[in-house]
């Protein structure tokens, strides 16, 4: 059981490290590339939240990835629509 918890925590940390390249793209790329980087980071964060919830064995934390996945859809659509029209 401890090995499993360690695996989930390690995977969450590894995925967090994997968001650094997308952060670089957001900081240095053009607006279109920055939006792509934002969508990438949001997708990874959904997984990180699910992994941490499983690692800590807290049932209440499993609602966060579901919420973030739904907000990712709405927020992403609003953002790309704003980019298309006004930014």
């Amino acid at each position: 059981m401890v090995l499993g918890v360690l695996g989930f925590t390690a995977a969450a940390i590894a995925m967090l490290i994997c968001t650094i390249p997308a952060g670089i793209v957001i900081a240095r790329g053009d607006l279109g590339s920055a939006v792509v980087g934002y969508e990438f980071i949001t997708s990874v964060m959904v997984m990180v939240l699910a992994l941490l919830a499983q690692a800590f064995q807290r049932s209440s934390l499993f609602e966060l990835p579901v919420l973030l996945a739904m907000l990712m859809f709405g927020g992403g659509l609003v953002f790309v629509r704003a980019m298309e029209r006004w930014l």
């Binding site: 939006v35 792509v36 298309e84």
Partner: protein, 105 residues
């Protein structure tokens, strides 16, 4: 023990997919090419993570909620990618449709 090994393999695969996708997002030239590398991180890796949670925890409420997040991402991902691609094209060319002279009759 076998359950832990399977979980670790699935998690390792998910991390590898995310790592490859992040390198793709960093190294590709423009936003169109970068967007192709968001899909593995938004569809494949969440499926592997949901499988890992399912293997570790079994068919319980926690794995159900993880699968629900996966379903939302699987449905939302293609819509979001399409909208992003369309917005980038409209921003760059003024319209998402090809120019009049390039359209087929």
């Amino acid at each position: 023990m076998i359950r832990d090994v399977c979980t670790d393999i699935l998690l390792g695969l998910a991390v590898l997919v995310v790592l490859g996708a992040s390198l793709g997002v960093l190294l590709m030239r423009d936003a169109y090419q970068k967007l192709h590398f968001v899909t593995p991180a938004a569809l494949v890796a969440p499926a592997l993570v949901a499988l890992a949670v399912l293997v570790q925890a079994g068919l319980v409420e926690n794995s159900g909620e993880t699968c629900l997040a996966l379903v939302v991402m699987v449905i939302a991902g293609p819509f979001l990618s399409h909208a992003t691609m369309r917005a980038i094209r409209v921003r760059g060319q003024g319209d998402w449709r090809p120019p009049q002279k390039e359209r087929k009759p």
